[in-house]
């Protein structure tokens, strides 16, 4: 289904061109990639329009063709990709057959581009000033050396680099991720384009930085009357920022319309599923679906399933894991023989009662992953105590530590790199049992089959290899492996952060089911507060190595005391939106 819906802009922007004529018209666009298995179509007949000054968002999961569509508008497809059908009209001219020179005239000047990953999109060997000046010179915005320099400083200042003049000679590695993204925004808007394509401009950044960057793009483009094509996987973010939302799935547009209508009255089942699966502030703690009424696996709905769990949690239950004044000090080399102590984790203490989930929340660099590593015994604490089921973990012999490890098992973020590609699924799941010499070969085989069933994977996967599995299936395997030794505690380090929203919802449901069934205790490390809402009983917020606030999930979400916590909550995309559910 393809639709083109002209939408009047709701942001009250200043139109720069005839607002009744579309700036970009995409008609039946098809993009194919040449692979070993022949031509693979990534975009199959997409049509939409962008009018001057409006903000349009394309939303979809990975592989939906959203980024391919965006890069096709600038003809910046990777080497093996090509537009195989349809038209792209930029200001009325079809660019599909444009040569390199004609495209160079459109890129930068008519269509600006802000890429996803600020770490890899600036050339490391040239100064920041050089790379901005290059963009300005290429589009003839200024010609004399002095004017180019002045304009470069100006665009960087507008992009939010206050001390741009001083930093022009610096190199990208001397900038933080957020600062680099500002440089890329400056480059993208340097020649005052009529359309800015922002391809997941903030997904590589910390949540609080994300909000600042998006606010900045919004205000800059509004002032200049620039149209924006925002590519994102986050429906909440799209609805919050764009006036029109296009939902893509498997190379096709499944639904498009004004963002408020789309959110409050989604027509297509896929959009409905996306909305239902998105965790948000309005959600409640996930309850095991086994206990409640049976759920249709395909249309389950996070919010509908969610129930208050407060009474279910026994606050007096003994703590399975108890952490007292845990501290980790690294020494950072300062050059020569000098080094400086850096306190990554600073006297944190918490208890996790049996069968509950504690979410450890914070931005990158807050020390949450270091804390998790110490609890898993992968990093030696500088001081402090960790007690697991009454047994102290610090200062014990290697043999005792080895035995303790079987009681705590990890699940990591990236399901692609956390499974050995050379091992079959069964071999991966059975590995902890082999290491800890649990059971004989037959018993382990039976246990693997049992675990596959517990994580809802078909027994046929037994002899398969990770490359035959999807991201969600792989993460289920990683969970099965973590459960192999019947641990008391599972440490989930950003375990759902890399997953698409529908898969993420399924994995969260699986975790809730397993907790109810097996009485598991979770330590959930994440930067995503929206996920915390649906999985955690208690929350501890970390900032610069310290726990700045902790409490039950409801307390934190409804009544955060710390400004830092409040900032994290405000940064959740779509926080202020009315959701249908």
């Amino acid at each position: 289904m393809t639709e083109t819906i002209p939408v009047t802009d709701s942001h009250g922007t200043v139109p720069v061109a005839d607002p009744s004529q579309p700036l970009v018209q995409v008609r039946d666009l098809e993009v194919g990639f040449q692979t070993q298995n022949g031509l693979v179509k990534a975009v199959r007949g997409v049509s939409f329009e962008i009018y001057p000054g409006e903000t349009v968002a394309i939303v979809g999961e990975s592989g939906s063709g959203k980024s391919t569509t965006a890069t096709a508008l600038m003809k910046l497809l990777p080497g093996n990709g090509d537009i195989t059908g349809g038209e792209v009209l930029v200001e009325g001219t079809n660019i599909v057959d444009h040569n390199e020179k004609q495209m160079a005239a459109i890129r930068g000047g008519v269509i600006g581009y802000v890429p996803q990953d600020p770490m890899s999109n600036l050339n490391p060997v040239w100064s920041v000033g050089f790379q901005v000046r290059e963009a300005i010179r290429a589009n003839g915005v200024a010609t004399s050396k002095k004017d180019i320099e002045a304009r470069a400083v100006e665009v960087l200042q507008q992009a939010g680099l206050g001390d741009a003049e001083r930093r022009m000679k610096q190199f990208p590695h001397q900038f933080s991720g957020g600062m680099r993204q500002r440089v890329l925004i400056g480059i993208g808007l340097g020649a005052d384009p009529k359309l800015l394509i922002a391809d997941e401009p903030t997904s590589a950044l910390d949540v609080t930085v994300q909000k600042v960057i998006l606010d900045h793009i919004e205000s800059l483009t509004r002032d200049k009357g620039t149209a924006v094509l925002l590519i994102t996987h986050d429906l909440g973010l799209a609805a919050e920022r764009a006036s029109k939302v296009i939902v893509m799935n498997q190379g096709r547009i499944v639904e498009a319309g004004p963002s408020k209508d789309l959110l409050s009255n989604p027509q297509h089942p896929y959009t409905q599923r996306l909305i239902a699966a998105a965790p948000s502030l309005a959600s409640r703690r996930l309850e095991s679906s086994i206990a409640g009424e049976s759920q249709d696996a395909k249309t389950f709905d996070v919010a509908q399933m969610a129930e208050q769990r407060a009474e279910a949690v026994d606050a007096d239950a003994p703590a399975v894991i108890s952490v007292r004044d845990l501290t980790k000090v690294f020494s950072i080399r300062k050059g020569g023989f000098r080094s400086e102590p850096f306190t990554a984790v600073d006297k944190i203490s918490f208890d996790i009662p049996k069968g509950t989930t504690l979410a450890l929340v914070g931005e990158s660099g807050s020390g949450k992953s270091t804390a998790a590593k110490m609890i898993l015994g992968l990093e030696e604490p500088t001081s402090g105590e960790i007690t697991v089921g009454g047994t102290a973990m610090t200062g014990v012999s290697r043999k005792d530590l080895f035995n303790l490890r079987s009681r705590m098992q990890p699940v990591f973020q990236d399901p692609y790199s956390s499974l050995d590609p050379q091992r079959s699924i069964a071999s991966s799941i059975a590995e902890p049992m082999r290491v800890h010499k649990t059971g004989d070969k037959e018993a382990r085989r039976a246990r693997v089959l049992e675990l596959l069933e517990q994580v809802s994977l078909p027994a046929e996967l037994f002899n398969r290899y990770p490359n035959e599995l999807s991201g969600g299936q792989r993460q289920r395997v990683a969970i099965a492996r973590a459960l192999a030794l019947k641990p008391d505690v599972v440490v989930l380090d950003e375990a759902v952060s890399a997953l698409d929203v529908l898969v993420q919802a399924q994995i969260l449901q699986l975790l809730a089911d397993l907790q109810a069934e097996l009485g598991l205790t979770y330590l959930f490390i994440t930067h995503d507060l929206a996920v915390v809402r649906v999985i955690a009983d208690n929350v501890a917020v970390m900032e610069r190595g310290k726990i700045v606030e902790s409490g039950t999930t409801d307390q934190i979400f409804e009544n955060a005391r710390e400004p830092y916590t409040q900032r994290l909550l405000d940064a959740i995309p779509g926080a202020g939106l009315e959701w249908t559910v």
Binding site: T71, L76, R107, E134, L184, I187, G335
Partner: protein, 308 residues
């Protein structure tokens, strides 16, 4: 930065003593008596023999001789050859010749590596890529001395385009043929490095961003693709510079070039120990310095690398 250089130079001290000691020891252990050799077929007077031994400290224990040698070396006195010239003079005459030859070889190698590497990388999988890879493989497979003889025979003798031997007639022109021949046999390593980094850089995010700015490939290829790919090639070339200075013996022998390699070779045959030890010591020191310079070059080419 300064601290880094000082640190590296301090590290070079044990390397210096280690290599010179080994060389000195090996030459010392070689069969034959250098003093007797001085007299040729005549039988010398034992008193004279004794006097000569004393004059050159040859009656001292090995370790004392070694440190006396090091002391002389460090004060700039490398001794005298059999024909009465100072080793300093011999080196001063031979070194510029070798430097000229190696410069030609290294510059040509660099240009070949960058040129064909860029061509191959940009046309990956196409005809030009296959042709360039095949050519590099063939040239690399020919042993250098065979290539040098072939070049000498066909280009020097049959076609007469270049002097067959150099001899006393040292000039950029006469050294061109041996220099280019060396370059052709060694450029394959640099070319493969260049090809690999071009292929990687071409698909890089910052290259796409450069195109998105509105730049054409005329600018993106040299400024963003080639510039970034040069880092490994330049360091490889600089490293081969050090290796070539010490490794031109075969080339200088075939083309009769009076450079370090030839002098060293002759000195070994004649058993002129002072020359051998001194030359090898100087080459060792130069090799160490070139390697430090190569490491510093990294920092110039890649701003992310800073030595503190």
């Amino acid at each position: 930065m300064t601290l880094y250089v000082v640190k590296r130079l301090l590290q070079a001290i044990p390397v210096f003593f280690g290599t010179t000691f080994l060389i000195y020891f090996m030459v010392f252990s070689m069969p034959g008596d250098p003093v007797l050799a001085l007299f040729g077929d005549r039988t010398p007077n034992p008193a004279v023999l004794e006097a000569v031994r004393e004059q050159y400290n040859l009656d001292q224990p090995f370790i004392v001789q070694y440190f006396m040698y090091i002391k002389d070396f460090l004060t700039g006195n490398m001794g005298v050859t059999f024909s009465g010239q100072t080793v300093n003079d011999v080196f001063a005459r031979a070194f510029p010749v070798t430097l000229q030859l190696v410069t030609i070889a290294v510059v040509a190698e660099f240009l070949l590596a960058v040129g064909f590497g860029l061509l191959s990388g940009l046309r990956k999988g196409k005809f030009a890529d296959h042709a360039s890879l095949l050519m590099a493989l063939v040239l690399n497979s020919i042993p250098p001395f065979v290539a040098l003889f072939l070049a000498q025979y066909f280009i020097g003798i049959k076609l007469g385009w270049a002097p067959v031997t150099v001899g006393a007639n040292v000039s950029w022109g006469s050294l061109l043929l041996p220099g280019l021949t060396i370059a052709l046999t060694i450029y394959v390593v640099g070319m493969r490095l260049m090809r690999g980094s071009v292929i990687e850089a071409r698909e890089g995010d910052y290259v796409r961003t450069a195109y998105a700015k509105g730049l054409t490939s005329k600018r993106v290829t040299p400024v963003h693709v080639a510039r970034n790919s040069l880092i490994p090639v330049i360091t490889n070339t600089a490293a081969s510079f050090g290796a070539l200075i010490a490794g031109t013996t075969v080339t200088e022998g075939i083309f009769n070039i009076p450079g370090i390699g030839k002098v060293l070779y002759d000195a070994i045959l004649r058993g002129e120990n002072a020359t051998v030890v001194s030359f090898v010591t100087i080459l060792t020191v130069m090799y160490i310095i070139v390697n430090i310079l190569v490491d510093l070059l990294y920092a110039v080419l890649d701003p992310r690398i800073r030595y503190v």
